[in-house]
Point group: C2
Chain length 363, copies 2
């Protein structure tokens, strides 16, 4: 029984970064630097692809959406992300995608970092898209169509500006208020912003076409007649069973690249295709093991669904940055024990409040 | 841009219950009442087994242990638990099992409750064992052998005392300090405590045998010659590939009951047996769809590995109790947005600190 009110120094504590603290972190470091730092981590981690214990994410589907868990680990660190996808959440004034996640120590299982991942997912998805486009798009790409102008679109625009060299974005969304929001947010960014009247209008003449729509339907946002030689299609919103954006003939006419084939065949735009439809995992291109784009005329597709490794890379970036900037707070997610075999003894500790000798087993 | 320092009322906030606050909750309600309340929730949830979207947990194995995610949902609520198992953690002064988890709203994906689950897992595992024993052990069971006297054992002893009617516990552990810890914690509980010199000594004459050892090995703690007619074996510690406690002949000579067969065949003591080894899922017994114990002579085994539904039940109990007692605190795991399509706008909000109009995109 403890007789002193002072608690022992915690040996198991977790750094917690809330959403407001993550926003503060991004403000202090600069959004562009955060996306670039996450992109660097993603590329470094993809180059050691075989170090990771990988699996497709685990999804619980419901009428209105999906909740997913995305674990991954190497020999040192483990991470997972919780993320939902509820396309109709706007009717409640809620985001369609919300996320949080944890980094843990593989040697002990201790969770070391608990972070918001809603903002972070937007950055990492944009960073991943940019890493793929740097490997797959024509090097002189300057114009990007951006179809779907919701929560992720601002981050895509800025990532492609700063990491790929895009100078003009051509916007289209069925929701004109979303397009206005995006255009407003891009004022002062240095990007030339063109608001378009249709997907076809936005896509016409673009070097890169980014689709980041939210409907959980087998949509065909991009159809074959829109495609021009040499385009790179960054397909982000076809990321769930029953949720696609690209016409099957667009996929047939393109070289298709994916993050992790076992997951993408279930969730990506290629869910429409036969199980033996040829795809290349992006890490193979980054590592120089497989060719990327064949020539300036080929149409390339990055069928991005979001893979756990990207969150691992992003969590490490945010954890490192939080430590560097002194942001976040230590929380007691795990009980502190003088004797780890005496979990019961925790109930007799004072919890930093009044000491309670009456355990009230028989309350 | 916000011009006021006052934040809008959060529409997405998560109740966070730390380990010290959970300990306080247990002190205020009484441990026995918490275990009983969790047992009631478990039984009620097992009786509506087919309402749940179930899957075997996802495990990342490493040299020293395992980290697992355990998701489950019905039409209204989703939960998952993060839990590790690192049998050699004691060398760092750390617990072998640490856990936390989340309840979320299926309709929106919002995480509503984030809680420590290290203490809670100990209670829910004991509650599950007691629910199974009430269905499977002889009704007049009064003596329990308790093999493995680590962190979970105190909770098992008290659950069986209060929910099953056990009056005497017979303790054995290779680590005599662990046995002393358990015996000390049970002083004043009303249980008759007998410290034994061996597993065989502890098991002799017991009505119920609970094994809750931690070694990640294919151990044979319980061998056929120890078994007496009518015993109920509550096998808790064989819960991971390569981690078993019961000799295969003990399983062959018994009626074996499990939580969720697809998971137990991989993780439980029955991992030693052929894929068609006959088992009964406990919910079928609770629901009256399958017989439990055939007669007073039969040996029954509950091959418990811990299933996500038990954590769902326990999280609901802890969330309800925290709300009732006003424990825990609201945290901003998810960013608050005036316009859910304007995630980028969060970066321009004040975060309750100084307003920063300089977003520093080009920092």
């Amino acid at each position: 029984m403890k007789t002193t009110a002072t608690l022992p120094r915690p040996s198991v504590s977790t750094l917690y970064l809330s959403a407001p603290e993550a926003a503060e972190l991004i403000r202090q470091k600069g959004l562009q630097n955060c996306i670039a730092g996450i992109a660097d981590n993603i590329k470094a981690d993809f180059l050691r692809w075989n170090d990771f214990d990988k699996s497709a994410r685990v999804a619980n589907h419901s009428h209105d959406g999906v909740i997913e868990l995305m674990p991954i680990s190497d020999d040192v660190s483990y991470s997972f992300k919780y993320v939902n996808g509820h396309p109709r959440n706007h009717r409640f004034g809620l985001p369609t995608v919300m996320a949080f996640g944890v980094l843990a120590d593989v040697a002990t299982g201790c969770p070391t970092f608990l972070s918001e991942l809603t903002l972070t997912t937007a950055m990492r998805t944009a960073a991943m898209s940019a890493v793929a486009a740097r490997a797959l798009a024509r090097p002189n790409s300057r114009v990007m169509a951006l179809i779907g102008n919701g929560a992720q679109s601002d981050f895509q625009a800025l990532a492609f500006q700063h990491l790929v060299g895009i100078e003009e974005v051509r916007l289209f969304d069925l929701d004109t208020a979303a397009t206005k929001k995006l255009a407003d947010n891009l004022v002062g960014s240095g990007l030339r912003v063109v608001i378009c009247a249709s997907t076809a209008d936005a896509v016409r003449g673009a070097d890169i076409v980014t689709t980041v729509t939210a409907d959980k339907t087998n949509a065909t946002i991009i159809t074959p007649e829109m495609i021009e030689p040499g385009m790179h299609i960054n397909g982000v919103g076809g990321d769930c069973p029953g949720k696609t954006e690209l016409h099957a003939d667009v996929l047939r006419a393109s070289a298709v690249f994916v993050e992790y084939a076992p997951q993408t065949r279930v969730e990506g735009d290629i869910q429409q295709m036969p199980a033996d439809f040829a795809v290349t995992e992006l890490w193979e291109v980054l590592a120089g093991q497989k060719p990327g784009r064949a020539d300036a005329q080929q149409v390339t597709v990055f069928d991005s669904v979001g893979f756990a490794l990207e969150d691992f890379s992003a969590l490490r970036f945010m954890g490192d940055a939080a430590a560097e900037l002194g942001l976040g707070e230590q929380v007691a997610l795990i009980p502190e024990m003088d004797n780890p075999k005496n979990l019961f003894g925790v109930l007799r500790q004072s919890a930093g409040r009044v000491s309670r000798p009456d355990l009230r087993l028989a309350a």
